[in-house]
Symmetry: C2
Subunit: 233 residues, 2 copies
Amino acid sequence: MTGTLYGVGLGPGAPDLITLRAARLIAGVAVVAYPTLAGGQSFARAIAADLIPAGATEIVMDVPMSLERAPAQAAYDAGAARIAASLDAGHDVVCLCEGDPFFYGSFMYLFARLSTRYRVEVVPGVTSLTACAASAGMPLVARNERLTVLPGPLPEDELRARIAGAESVVIMKLGRHMAKIRAVIAGLGLTQHATYVARATLPDQVVLPLADAPETAPYFSMILLTKGADPWL
Amino acid sequence: MTGTLYGVGLGPGAPDLITLRAARLIAGVAVVAYPTLAGGQSFARAIAADLIPAGATEIVMDVPMSLERAPAQAAYDAGAARIAASLDAGHDVVCLCEGDPFFYGSFMYLFARLSTRYRVEVVPGVTSLTACAASAGMPLVARNERLTVLPGPLPEDELRARIAGAESVVIMKLGRHMAKIRAVIAGLGLTQHATYVARATLPDQVVLPLADAPETAPYFSMILLTKGADPWL
């Protein structure tokens, strides 16, 4: 019997925002897999740490830091091969994914490589999107409002055009793009509507008006721009 | 001691997609609250049914079916008053919310009415957005892709303009707007890229190419248009 690959969303960071299904799957599995970036710690593994059975085999896919695609592709190729070997041996494999596997998650690279040959189940998780809204106490979208999600690395002109035509906007993956994003928002006269949230749901969570946010932001941070939210019905 | 109001996201429908935090809060509370529509069943209550303690007080806010806002506003005013009375009496209140409270959730109407006077905590939940993507086996957004979420009731011209300029698109709240939405997608030549998902994660879940979807759709359904998703890295 070939095993099943589970792509398991773990939510934004607080271990108790894991779903009951994800917790059950992790606690019962013999093989877990997760990526790390350039030898760093795995955030996904940290979220799930208390649930991983002692003695579980851990398949670590170390993805090198590079703007080129080939080195990362090679890392996922190698990881997929190791996961496939476990599945072939009859073991289920749980791939740990921060947030949701299909919402900017690296699990989709494994899904593309393995889902035509193996049974793959995706367990959705709480995204940073709604976790940040909850932490900020800011309703994201109501009724017939539109929501636009924009990655911070997009070019300045595109960010400006997409924000200008939108209602509620979430800008993700701030990192070293913070100065550019701030300038775009300021140029549109929207700074006073913008909230910065970093490490939502973790003990060191930060929620600040964008005007008071730091010059550089961690990867796990976002800006909420809810121009349109009208929570009064 | 005044109680705390918890707005608790329950996820898309499968009871085991409730988070550990939500399950703990529901199981330990004496007062739960939830809306119903025109005397119908509460989907949120159904998701959480097995967790609600026997003997818990239930505050039901029945929202009448009406295109006017005043009757619904009156229902939320009355519900907020009943919740406030419980909080004043020192009880915590858990408001049950399908999906996520701040993602098109009616909890935000209670939040607007009560959060300036009481301690309110929002527990984010798995949204139908990523649940549908998981059920369809379709990665939603990767890397620097943009995501646009559009409610189906939007006017035809606006839907067309927003879809044409977008990458990954999710259209929610299909219901009686299905024929209009189909025509817009067909007019843009995108029908073959569109997937219809109804009642994601429930036993009677439906996943179909849009071309094969029914003429009318339930409220809990959506269309995924992932023109841009490139899961291969």
